[in-house]
Symmetry: C2
Subunit: 174 residues, 2 copies
């Protein structure tokens, strides 16, 4: 960030009065530009004993497998974001249920939230973001080709909880 998006003046890095950390501030109009973590909303789409995975056709991690998830948008709720990302990435029109995992990734200023979701049918398919979409049993999960640590750990907790017969909320840190 080099220039003020309101008045074009130079941006300085400074600790504003009453604050305790450095912010981007305009050298002319004094507006402060705060930067905060972003939410990734996603789902674990379940159909019978299988779950849905998407093969990424975009970077990062092109060619690797993921649960459907993406940046939460302004004007929506976390549940709406999880539903929207699921249909955008997999064509699956899920019913979003309980929150299953909150994955903090402070290194990249992200919070990933995965919801349990039910698929009303096997309907799903490739999209502009996913070259392949399919339903996988636990035994068939491509563990070495999972795109992100948050997805891998969420899947591991999901299968462990399913075995134990109780889904809990998991707080994970990466």
């Amino acid at each position: 960030m080099k220039y003020c998006s309101h008045c074009r003046a130079d941006i300085v890095t400074t600790i504003p009065a009453g604050d305790n950390r450095e912010r981007f501030m305009c050298s002319s109009c004094d507006i402060i530009f705060y930067e905060n973590p972003r939410i990734i909303a996603g789902s674990i789409p379940v159909y019978g004993d299988k779950i849905l995975l998407c093969k990424r056709s975009i970077e990062p991690r092109l060619g690797y497998w993921t649960l459907p998830a993406g940046f939460m948008e302004n004007g929506e709720t976390t549940l709406q974001g999880a539903w929207r990302e699921t249909i955008e990435e997999s064509q699956a029109d899920v019913t979003v249920g309980e929150l299953f995992s909150i994955c903090n990734v402070p290194r990249i200023n992200q919070v990933h939230m995965f919801y349990l979701a039910t698929m009303p049918s096997e309907d799903c398919g490739p999209t502009s973001e996913s070259s392949e979409v399919g339903l996988y049993s636990e035994a068939d999960i491509p563990w070495d080709e999972i795109a992100f640590g948050t997805v891998k750990q969420t899947l591991k907790r999901f299968f462990a909880d399913r075995k134990a017969g109780l889904y809990q909320l998991h707080h994970l840190e990466f």
Copy 2:
């Protein structure tokens, strides 16, 4: 947002290729500036049968009472944010526990997350953000002077769950 913070050129509002909603984009260097919801992290500090409330000494809702909470910062986890905001607003050095409520406020692009927290002692006090800080029994909560709907509903659920003997995760929408 009027000018590009990277090159000072004019910003246009457009739907970028491969996207499905309007974004701020630079008319010269084509950088896209995404805007996403922010997380408010906070706690419900418990000491015996009382909970801690803060009287706000800053806008918005100056003079009204709130649970300690504020914008999650880059580089921290949701739990660290809840702990930091609690000590910054009330001087109480709590132990953060389970997530209690997720309050979606899509109208203002915010997600409020309140964690149950334990106070090791009665130690708390005013800060630059709170003119008064105190411990309140359920009967003494100033219900008509609570600053935010998310705080009021979180408190109501907290006391109901305490009565029922089981704290659950509450998804609320405002």
